[in-house]
């Protein structure tokens, strides 16, 4: 019964978090195939430790795991490049051209950020975490979070200065 209850809690958690986790992972890696892979791995590790996760702490915990999995993936980027091409690559074609171009420009700019800067930026401005919360997820000091997010915003501003996408202020 206890195990069933644990599974039910976790299923409810996944149902509530699924889309936001996918979006977070997609912003991190820019690829839906990899994003789902990251979410799958993060949720698996999260469920493995479900009994130890504090009530209410699961959303932050799973994002911390997801961020670490993403950073590890980046270290093994060369491994990933060898995999077969992703199955979502053609889905952009039925979207309005401008919207797709706009999106790809932002993703291309994000791709040019160092992995940790990118993760810091997304945690701060997409996940809306505070500096302290971001530092806890990234395993660094608040000073590092401030400098990393400042550098990331500045870099994006430069990269998007000549594109159709408004540069961040």
């Amino acid at each position: 019964v206890k195990n069933q209850q644990r599974q039910a809690e976790f299923r409810a958690f996944v149902a509530a978090q699924r889309d936001s986790l996918r979006k977070y992972a997609y912003l991190l890696c820019g690829d839906w195939y990899e994003a789902d892979d990251l979410v799958q791995k993060a949720l698996t590790r999260c469920f493995g430790a479900w009994n130890r996760v504090e009530p209410g702490g699961a959303p932050a915990y799973v994002r911390k795991i997801l961020t670490n999995v993403y950073l590890s993936h980046r270290r093994l980027e060369w491994v990933r490049r060898e995999r077969a091409s992703d199955e979502f690559g053609e889905q952009e074609t039925d979207r309005p051209h401008d919207e797709v171009e706009n999106r790809l420009e932002v993703l291309a700019a994000l791709d040019l950020l160092p992995s940790r800067q990118r993760a810091t930026l997304i945690l701060r401005y997409w996940e809306q975490l505070s500096v302290e919360e971001t530092a806890a997820v990234m395993g660094c000091t608040t000073g590092t979070v401030k400098s990393q997010s400042s550098k990331a915003v500045q870099k994006l501003k430069e990269l998007l200065a000549h594109s159709t996408v408004p540069a961040p202020k």
């Binding site: 599974q7 976790f10 299923r11 996944v14 699924r18 889309d19 996918r22 979006k23 997609y26 912003l27 820019g30 839906w32 195939y33 789902d36 979410v39 799958q40 949720l43 698996t44 590790r45 999260c46 469920f47 493995g48 430790a49 009994n51 670490n68 950073l71 590890s72 270290r75 093994l76 980027e77 060369w78 491994v79 060898e82 979502f88 889905q91 979207r95 919207e99 999106r103 932002v106 940790r116 930026l121 701060r124 401005y125 997409w126 809306q128 990234m138 395993g139 660094c140 000091t141 000073g143 590092t144 400098s147 915003v153 994006l156 998007l160 996408v165 408004p166 540069a167 961040p168 202020k169």
Partner: protein, 481 residues
């Protein structure tokens, strides 16, 4: 919010409709449960290992019942609160040569011994691997496999990587040849399995080079993610192979085999090397000192270490110190400075990169000082391989040029140039060291001990070092990114 806010900009990267997902909740629950059971089994194993008598009794009971531990894995994962690739160890003592290092040498002898025999490196296998390979070395006297604890600098010594490094020590006749076989057990921290340039300035460091290294041919790279959680990477250089297996607990083994790029020939198939490598166990190593690198220091690229450079740079060193002697003489009439010599310093654990200096010794006539003058040393440091300033909160210099002292390492600015002064109180006076960092990238440093009563203070020394001319060197030859 407005359209230019980072949040809105990120929102534009997300489509209105998300594509169908591949997230399989049933599989997550199944895999998560298995991971949890493995974790519990590993914990149980760890606690039993500490109580040998109980462990033996339990193992006996398990065999009696015919029920092996459920879902036990030889490769339990480790969880880090940070990305271990962007982490490292302090510069201290490398891992010891006992304990895991001994076990590693024994395992290597057992798994790779047959290959060494087949290739003709060893005439025969050790009679008793457990006995003969138990002290960090293994094999015959003419080709002994030895394991030593090692540390390797990451980002010019900002952090260190730790490993147990195993290599063959060939007999006298073959000592000029590099070891045809090396096997390193890497502790987690500061490295990546992704192939890339293996250089002191690249962090995290790459365990496998993606460039030609044994010959002028680029290697053929391959990777495989194994079902048991390990990842195997290989680089086939034709006449030599590099192979790395990364374990779920963040450790890695790196093997290199040179079949004959040089004079000696030790034939081997790559598959035989990877088979032996994959037969090695995962090691549970001490990572208590591992800490994340919060901000990588920007270090200018170091010079390649070459034995010839000091001689080649002798004239520049002499010209530099000759010009410096004139500047010293202007402030201290009667001062002397001997002709300087070029010297290079290497980094702990890294012999391929160096910093370059010109050094000379001299005397300063000082009122109240020794009649023969006050001894001092001058050292110019050319740009490359260091950071200006002093790592004040550490006991080691790391990438900084100036070694910190526990009592004093003060940083000031004089005429737009950074100046580091260090003062040590002696029984009968003071020891001073002044380093001036020029915006062009070079530095000059003078050290001296001033006895009580001698009329030379720190301020006068700062003025002297700040007045020294630039050393003679070719700015175009300075290593660049």
């Amino acid at each position: 919010m407005n359209g230019n806010h980072p949040t809105d900009m990120l929102a534009r990267a997300i489509p209105d409709e998300l594509p169908p997902d591949r997230i399989d909740v049933e599989r997550i629950i199944g895999d998560g449960d298995r991971a949890r059971r493995r974790h519990r089994a590993a914990l149980a194993g760890a606690s039993l290992a500490g109580v040998a008598v109980l462990a033996a009794a339990t193992a006996f009971a398990v065999v009696q019942n015919g029920a092996p531990p459920e879902e036990a894995t030889p490769y339990p994962a480790a969880a880090f609160e940070f990305d271990p690739a962007m982490a490292g160890y302090p510069e201290e003592v490398p891992p010891g040569e006992t304990g895991e290092g001994d076990r590693f040498a024994g395992d290597a002898g057992e798994r790779f011994g047959p290959l060494l025999v087949e290739a003709g490196v060893w005439s025969d296998l050790p009679e008793d691997v457990g006995e003969d390979c138990g002290d960090g070395s293994c094999g015959s006297a003419d080709a002994e496999f030895r394991v030593v604890g090692q540390q390797l600098p990451g980002n010019y010594g900002q952090v260190y990587l730790r490993s147990y490094a195993g290599a063959l020590f060939l007999a006298q006749a073959a000592q000029t040849e590099p070891s045809p076989f090396t096997l390193d057990l890497m502790l987690p921290g500061g490295w990546t399995a992704e192939p890339g340039p293996d250089a002191i300035g690249v962090f995290p460091r790459h365990l496998i080079s993606d460039k030609a290294s044994y010959t002028d041919q680029d290697p053929l790279l391959a990777s495989e993610e194994l079902d048991d959680g390990r990842t195997l990477l290989t680089a086939d250089h034709g006449c030599a192979y590099d192979a790395v297996v990364v374990y779920p607990n963040g450790t890695a083994l790196r093997a290199s085999w040179n079949t004959g790029c040089e004079r000696l020939h030790y034939p081997l198939e790559l598959a035989a090397l990877t088979d032996a490598l994959l037969a090695m166990p995962q090691y549970d190593l001490d990572t208590a000192d591992l800490a994340p690198v919060e901000e990588l220091l920007e270090v200018s690229p170091a010079w390649p270490y070459t034995e010839e450079w000091p001689e080649a740079a002798a004239a520049d060193a002499a010209a530099s110190t000759e010009a410096a002697a004139l500047a010293v003489e202007e402030r201290f009439s009667g001062a002397e400075l001997a002709e300087g010599a070029a010297e290079q310093t290497v980094f702990t654990g890294e012999l391929t990169a160096a910093r370059r200096h010109y050094a000379a010794a001299g005397t300063l006539p000082v009122e109240g000082g020794p009649s023969a003058g006050l001894d001092f040393s001058l050292r110019y440091s050319l740009p490359g391989g260091w950071v200006a300033g002093c790592w004040t909160d550490r006991s080691t210099p790391g990438p900084y040029l100036v070694s910190p002292t526990l009592d004093d390492c003060a940083e000031t600015e004089v005429d737009g140039r950074t100046v580091v002064t260090q003062t040590t109180v002696l029984e009968d006076g003071h020891a001073y060291a002044v380093t001036v960092f020029d915006p062009d990238g070079w530095a000059a440093r003078i050290e001296t001990s001033v006895p009580a009563g001698a009329e030379l203070d720190l301020e006068a020394l700062v003025d002297l070092v700040a007045a020294l001319p630039a050393p003679v060197y070719d700015p175009d030859a300075v290593p660049a990114d």
